[in-house]
């Protein structure tokens, strides 16, 4: 079968992956599930993997097929698989977990001690077929197109997971800020609107993104290039600050907003990455705010997100691309030229 593979780390997105002929995976363990991929989202993290930014965090045996936002149809299962049969359509949670380590037992499957992450540590879904397992697949509701829902497997669940932590702290009338209304941010904003009664302010440099935010439920939008962000938020929140900030950008400048815009006792959630935090410890003490990391989300959270999609509460903006055009997708995302989410159709 054909697969888009990374052979060596590069900054040059036009040469990111090569389309190789490789062996098709088989269901060779009792819990194995093989999926024919019908949609695989391209993610900012794919650019970061290509650049080598994940090499120090996760082992990557190159060459390796990328693609961690996958959906499609089950074609083969191991002897012990009960929850799906060949022919079922599924979305694939990106973490293939064991179910017996303590984190798995606690429901914290992202911390599984025996996991693999197709597209990050083993072969992923930019290919005709993907090898995963029973604990990583969720059957799709009737009538949902795998190519439409695929990006929820990582972009969606990551946004939802961060929003869920934020919503736990948001009462009606409290203020929430969404920084960056791109691939993740536009999902997060809809999740926030569907599951809370918070007042939402969206920040984005691009006018189209701010318009999208307003369409999707933001009560206020701010252009950080023309406004004093701290002063704007102070006015919007009557001096109280935002109880929860969802930072889908994670640049130096956005992490630096925290001391100025976060309410006492509030949280600044780091979802996007690329930049750094540089703050005096005293700033966190004075405002008693937190920087909170976000790592994808749990299998059970992906079930909840699928329920939101089925209710019509969350809609994705997607565009479709052939496997052969994958480096063009990589390049265009690098230049901020992709609206919504690009899905590769192998």
């Amino acid at each position: 079968m054909l697969a888009a593979r990374l052979h060596e780390y590069t900054e040059e997105m036009s040469e990111a992956l090569s389309i190789d002929e490789v062996d098709r995976p088989t269901a060779d363990t009792p819990d194995a599930v093989v999926v024919e991929v019908e949609g695989a989202g391209w993610c900012q993290t794919d650019n970061h993997i290509v650049e080598g930014m994940w090499a120090e965090y996760a082992p990557q045996p190159l060459p390796m097929t990328l693609g961690h936002e996958n959906a499609g149809t089950v074609v083969d299962v191991g002897e012990n698989v009960d929850i799906v049969d060949p022919g079922d359509q599924v979305i694939c949670h990106p973490h293939v977990t064991c179910g017996t380590c303590r984190p798995c037992r606690l429901g914290e499957d992202m911390y599984c001690e025996n996991a693999r992450f197709p597209g990050l540590t083993t072969d992923g879904g930019f290919a005709e077929y993907l090898a995963t397992n029973e604990r990583a697949v969720i059957p799709l509701p009737e009538g949902v197109d795998p190519a439409e829902i695929a990006p929820h497997a990582d972009a969606g669940i990551t946004a939802y997971h961060a929003v869920k932590k934020a919503v736990d702290e948001l009462n009606p009338g409290d203020h929430a800020v969404v920084i960056g209304v791109g691939g993740l941010g536009h999902i997060g904003l809809q999740c926030l609107d569907a599951t809370s009664a918070a007042e939402i302010t969206a920040l984005d440099l691009k006018a189209e993104a701010r318009d999208l935010a307003a369409d999707l439920g933001a009560h206020h939008v701010v252009d950080p290039s023309s406004a004093d962000v701290a002063a704007e938020l102070d006015a919007i929140t009557d001096g109280v600050g935002a109880r929860q900030v969802l930072d889908f950008v994670g640049a130096d400048v956005t992490t630096g907003y925290a001391p100025d815009i976060t309410a006492a006792g509030g949280d600044h959630h780091i979802v996007g990455y690329g930049g750094h935090i540089h703050e005096p410890a005293q700033a966190l003490v004075d405002g008693e705010f937190d920087y909170r990391g976000t790592l994808v989300g749990r299998y059970a959270e992906l079930q909840e997100l699928v329920a939101l999609v089925e209710r019509g509460d969350v809609a994705l903006r997607t565009s479709r691309h052939d496997l052969g055009d994958i480096n063009t997708v990589a390049e265009r995302l690098e230049h901020g030229e992709i609206e919504g989410r690009a899905v590769v159709i192998p």
Copy 2:
């Protein structure tokens, strides 16, 4: 009356405060309480105030009497005060709050929108008498010496507040790390031991502090000057990491331990300060850990800490000093020469 006052910011601790003759405060509002101070703890934060580190965070009308860890005997009360009478011994919560703003209504009195903080924003307790209010005093249990308990008014409650947040996340067998076993750390360690069944590891550069930690309940001690902290914690925790880290130091080097020693989903609590956080956003994403700020603690938490003291679960190491020796205390703390907590007796 005599009061130890700051006239201008200085790095020179031997000239930090001057002993001035000032007017004695009176109970001039319905909720006012005037306390004859019988013990006032000197805190690392006092050194930071003297150096001007708090000037950008909190307005300070100089000259101002320092001292925010106060206990003593009520001598005068306003007409509406019900919970104490003259003659009652009390410990003074450091935040003098309104009781009607939304944070006060939520029990979050540290975020009160109309508060003053004696010793930080108005005259404090390094004086014969202190002006506070009904919402800031807690009657002492029978037989408790005000000079013995005074440091709990800030050091104690700050340590307890951070520990309480940590304990919410600690199951029996989980690992907790205490960084710095000084004035706050030795209280925090005892609170952790009394309210959880966590495995506790203490880090300190000084051998006496490590010995104290072992006496107070630490299961493991580590000397960060001679050991590879990450490797030690990896061994102690069987590769899982510490679910909760209490950083009573807050230096660049201690905040930098987080990515290496914190378990996935864990928290690094910033209690001490002076240094900075410098970490890539990606580190927080990869380990899904949080940096969490800590600002003193709630009035209700000080009640809980007094209950722990009354049960014999938390003992303070204190030394007593005359008001006239206050700059010597400041200087010795600056050089790390104070064991336990210094209490000034006005």
Copy 3:
């Protein structure tokens, strides 16, 4: 001034209260607030008070003016009152609290150790003027009519408080059941819809109430007189049961649904009352469900409900009545002939 007062307990609602001439209250303590009442809701609890059902739970010095759902305009304040001035429109939280006992300090003002409850333990709002205090008033947003919002002071906040506890346990796709879509239930249903993405099933004997439920966001409605409630819920929830049940009726038959319709680990919230729980302890063990009591709600929760009203998320169905017609209101509510909420205009 005129006031509708209870002189003795009676089952006869047509003689419940008498309209007496009494002294107008004055602002005689530093925190006192006197409100000219512009709307006072009549509540099922008023019927229960008239019948003497609260005599064993709360001391009632008869004769006493009823009315615990009050809103109007401030006309007089004590010297220490900061948050309102004469002329301000307010809604009155029903619990007049001290602000200094431990429950108040924890934000649990319903458990205040020094509270009074106008209309239940002291004179209430079925009168031209009401005596309350600073801690019990919330300024109204611009343009809100006191007579329209008054019932939120008890019916609204009680429904919201129960819903808030339920929403903490509801993930998207989980099932919630609302039993009884009357005065409280129709508010609770809207709060549930505004602050969660749960699947909502409403139960009511009356067709109009079920229609109202469907209008307000219920996804399923069930008539318990014609359907097997357990079988219906089993079908609706795919055999899982409802994770949260809000029982706004509290009759023997409704508390008895719990073992059959509540999901493992779920909660049955007792909001309405009048009936009993009769269940074997083993039923609670087998299903690990809880019966959870609900007592009005916190001041901070009334602020949150006002925010929901201001956002347009919660609308009240009210009818207006003269003070002189108050016993007719009592009688009609007893016979289930009041749609929405009756508001008395003194």
Copy 4:
């Protein structure tokens, strides 16, 4: 092999079970684990099963081997088992779960939709060998005797699970009540003491049980046969009531304490069963207390309890009995003549 089996429901404990020769189980699925039983606790629930009290809650194919508190040595494993090998000593969680249903994914393994419960719904551990699976076994720490720890597999985890829910609500100085210091209660009391700083009051009709409670950390003991329980608790708690009540008895009289002894906002946990709740809904409203069911506990909680045992925080009182004496054990427990916990050695 020999097994003690229930052939028909009976009130006559001297004829409860018969010792039959049956086939030894084999590891016939990929996740199967066969354990040689070295200790199997007899539980009050075994008496209830013999009496038929569980027939309506759980299907029981008679004849069936009882015994749900098992520990021993692994003798055979399926091909996919990773966490144990033959020769390893283990304690067996009583719920044999699937790992793929939504409750399992949430860590709520007691609510598994595909579980079996050896000793309650399939053959249990009063036999030489027990069939369980990989998700149900926990390796024992070095030096722990299976016969000593076996009762923790149900009595221990059930007590710990209830206590853990209680401890989440207990601050230092809050009051907790333990009703019944028998097989479960004496474990619960130790767990409470090890993981909280609550003031503990124990109630028991037997003087030996009250003495044991005092030895194990209770600060107050009450004999409900000679004291007015409500008045005693009122005195002990200064009129506030107990924030958490752990009812290890579950009789009509003990559930009836709730309105009188539970603090506002508190919980009465139903752990023992046999009696009923009979309370007016209004009582739960007036005191805003909850009746909370308790169903065994999670696998992860059994890991935590094993950690407490390893720390020396929880000690079991056990007596050992031969398989052939099992009906004598049943009879003596029925008459309250077993101190601590009876363990059958097959």
